[in-house]
Subunit: 358 residues, 2 copies
């Protein structure tokens, strides 16, 4: 998978189906690390930012060994704004990294399971992903990367506080684990607020697809640990995993209730959504995510047989504005043109054509 | 075509495409006639109503000769309420005829072009239909039937007033001519009120599909002459025909404007409607007519190629509640069950299956 593919391909290679993949889209683990004796990026000048980049570059081959994968090194200032947005849409980097692109970069493994952001909020943000519910594998991978980093470079660590980070919420383990869940059953049965409240009591936060400050659209929620200080890594992962399993159970129960009491209505709702996706000529981003959620639910409930679960992540990504603009090599597309292209891509994917290959 | 087919068939045999059939669904001519020396039905007792029925029965074979077609004689009191409603939905009788079914009947030609209601508002209501814009043929047919009646029986006629009728608005010729038009272009471009005003100034009335007191749904309008006194039959037909041609021109212009200025949006609207019709599991009567109007517009504008104009009258009829209940031999179907059956029939017709044959 080349760097060009990174922008043009509709799907990341690790996005095959994983555990509980009828409800869990993906799992992610992120470690925040900072080099000793250098200020955090938001307080660093260009010379210091450049020094951080150089230190990161010095361990590039160690990253490759740790992951047993080749990496691409991508400087943010070398990318067009559109290419940067595509990386955000694919969740390989954060929106934060591209606010000031100078001296910001990312290393991405060819299988796209691992990315290391340089000079985001912290000097290094090691991020690993897996499909379905699986925090163990991404954590193991992130730890191997962390070990490789710490074997060569001095990392800011305090015996009492643990890893030092730019934002106090990351102090301690520097670990943030998150799981992306599709919860239409809980939304339709009006149980989602309850789940959010309980999750908060368990020290977890429930947010939109792109994390902090993003809205939930299409019944996709990101559940992650709020605290990192005073917990072991394993404790954080276990706590999140068991909470997510509880949410999954609730979602399954809600879906069963929907099928038991309102199967006819649900059938109508999911098929109408399918019909709109299959034939609309213009679809906005919010609408497409809402429709996709219904269709995905229909697939999972065995109501819709004209689409496959594998098409869901493709469809979600192919509906993203920057991805579409990049595909058309046109960063000046109007909302109308994007909505039209989005509808076309959705129709093509549902017709079984590969959308990414123009 | 047997009497049973009359209730079960989704389509009337004369509903092939006629002139201007991209806009005009059908044309209808009705003559009101009353026998001399018998009170109008609403003032007649059972003996007098029975006498009217006997007189009508005495000329049954003359009707057949005049139309060169066999007729079915159908007494309203012999029908189930459902069967009566199906005849109304197929526009072979009026709602008025079935309010008091005793001593009310209809003679219907096997090709369903001609029906003669007995003891509706007037003793006889001779009604002839054609597809598309064509008032001449139904008027010629109705006149032959009228001649056959008047050759044998005394009809109430006043030298000064013309034909005497129960309602003064029918005095004179007793002729009501009406044309059923599909006018989505004028509705979408917000010109329909204008058309209605002008039509009224021309002595015409514009109403819903089932005439007086019915709402317009799915952009289908019935245009008919309001006055019959002081005009010749030909004058009435010419006036209506030329007004309808004017409306058709306006509709064509409106459609051209839609295609010129908002083609993309119209394309989206008509395909979304198609997608919903093709996949919905429940559809209400009003919604189906609104969706069908959009799909029909899409077909007429050459935007939709997955459905044919011939399917439009089928779809309209197959969406009627009594027709659906009768098809299922179940007059106690809930609204839910009807909505489900309607959606199923629509899907089958769009899939190219013949809906009427269970």
């Amino acid at each position: 998978m080349s760097v060009m593919d990174l922008y043009r391909d509709y799907c990341l290679p690790w996005m095959q189906s994983g555990k509980e993949s009828d409800i869990v889209i993906s799992s992610r683990v992120r470690l925040a690390r900072n080099f000793s004796r250098l200020p955090f990026p938001n307080r660093a000048d260009f010379t210091q930012l450049a020094a951080v980049q150089e230190m990161a570059a010095s361990i590039f081959s160690d990253l490759e060994s740790a992951c047993n994968e080749e990496f691409d090194a991508i400087g943010m200032d070398a990318l067009t704004p559109l290419e940067r947005s595509v990386l955000v849409e694919k969740q390989l980097i954060s929106r934060n990294l591209i606010k000031k692109p100078q001296y910001r970069s990312v290393y991405v493994s060819r299988d796209r399971r691992c990315s290391v952001m340089v000079n985001e909020e912290d000097h290094l943000r090691i991020q690993c992903m897996a499909a379905g519910l699986d925090l163990a594998a991404p954590f193991a991978l992130a730890s191997r990367v962390d070990d490789a980093v710490e074997a060569k470079l001095d990392i800011a660590f305090d015996e009492k506080m643990g890893y030092l980070t730019s934002c106090p919420t990351n102090l301690g383990t520097g670990l943030r684990a998150s799981v992306l869940l599709h919860l239409p059953g809980l939304v339709f049965t009006r149980n989602m607020n309850n789940i959010i409240n309980i999750s908060q009591q368990l020290g977890l936060s429930v947010r939109g697809m792109y994390g902090e400050g993003t809205e939930t659209v299409g019944n996709v929620f990101q559940v992650s640990n709020q605290l990192t200080l005073g917990f072991t890594e394993q404790g954080i992962l276990d706590n999140l995993t068991s909470a997510v399993k509880e949410i999954i159970e609730n979602e399954r129960r809600a879906r069963k209730a929907l099928m038991l009491y309102t199967k006819d209505r649900i059938e109508d709702i999911v098929w109408r959504a399918f019909g709109t996706l299959k034939y609309a000529r213009f679809i906005g981003e919010t609408e497409v995510l809402q429709l996709l959620s219904k269709v995905r639910l229909g697939i999972d409930l065995g109501l819709i047989n004209e689409a496959m679960p594998e098409q869901y992540p493709e469809l979600i990504l192919a509906s993203r504005p920057s991805y579409l603009q990049n595909l058309m090599n046109n960063e000046n597309m109007s909302k109308n043109e994007i909505d039209r292209k989005r509808a076309e891509m959705v129709r093509r994917i549902l017709a079984g054509e590969s959308a990414g290959q123009e």
